[in-house]
């Protein structure tokens, strides 16, 4: 009983004490009593302001920061450039084909990034045949004009969209390509017409760098 009231009283006292401490300013207690001497007699009065020395100091600090930042930047750049493609990889990424060596109505297969690329120089009759097809009847509806840049030249990846075999040219029921693995028939525009393949033959990135040069990649 006694002890409990004593504890309560103590607690109240402590609460009060801490309250009092937060309210009171300790600066007075911490304030130094040391009397700093007056140096004004010794200061250089001819300078007027101290801006010159401040500018010099900050300039030196800033220059140090600038050089450090440049060093850090080049270090980061050196590591980042190791991630970019090297010259031999870039050289392999594109393939150049001379088109005037390919007569009309002939297929050429070139290797690009380890994959076969079919190039067909189509005849006018074949272009007309490719355009005649009713788009709505196709499994993967695509116009012939969406698949070629120049209708005379059909360029596509020679990989069957079913399981990745290489189709055979100038065969199949539609006068285009035929995949011997599971019997997919592609037409003269490389569109799937019959068999298990779900999509048309893929068109790679390509451009005609001049009249007779094709660059794939």
């Amino acid at each position: 009983m006694l002890s409990r009231s004593f504890v309560r009283g103590l607690r109240a006292n402590m609460g009060l004490a801490s309250q009092a401490r937060t309210l009171s300013s300790t600066t007075a207690a911490l304030k130094s009593t040391y009397d700093s001497p007056d140096f004004s007699h010794y200061l250089n009065k001819s300078k007027g302001t101290n801006d010159k020395s401040r500018v010099y100091t900050y300039f030196m600090v800033g220059s140090y920061g600038l050089v450090s930042a440049a060093a850090a930047k080049s270090t980061v750049e050196a590591f980042l450039t190791t991630m970019s493609a090297s010259a031999d990889v870039l050289a392999m990424a594109k393939v150049e084909v001379k088109l005037n060596a390919i007569p009309e109505g002939k297929n050429v297969v070139v290797k690009w990034q380890g994959k076969p690329v079919f190039i067909r120089h189509r005849t006018q009759a074949e272009i007309a045949e490719a355009n005649e097809v009713d788009i709505s009847s196709l499994r993967d509806p695509q116009k012939d004009s969406d698949r070629v840049k120049n209708p005379e030249w059909l360029i596509m990846l020679g990989i069957c969209t079913h399981l990745g075999c290489v189709p055979i040219g100038e065969s199949g029921d539609f006068g285009g390509w035929f995949c011997p693995c599971h019997g997919s028939h592609y037409d003269i525009s490389g569109r799937i017409r019959k068999g298990p393949a779900p999509l048309n033959l893929e068109i790679p990135e390509y451009e005609f760098s001049d009249e007779s040069t094709l660059v794939v990649g």
């Binding site: 401040r54 500018v55 900050y58 800033g62 920061g65 440049a70």
Partner: protein
């Protein structure tokens, strides 16, 4: 003049740090150019671009590299 510089570049931390970072890009470009120029000047005649010219000139006259 000094107070003008101080007030423009050093008074505010944002201006100070901004100047340092912007200066880095300018500094790096000039530093790279200067180092490249010094290096190419020091190694004149040994660089591929010089050797290439020599080889092309040599090809026309005599082909003695067998």
């Amino acid at each position: 003049m000094y107070s003008a510089i101080f007030n423009t570049f050093f008074k505010r931390n944002a201006a100070f740090v901004g100047t340092v970072f912007a200066g880095t890009f300018v500094f790096q470009a000039y530093f790279d150019a200067a180092v490249t120029k010094w290096y190419e000047n020091r190694n004149k005649g040994k660089l591929w671009k010089d050797v290439k010219l020599q080889l092309q000139a040599g090809d026309d006259e005599d082909e003695d590299d067998e």
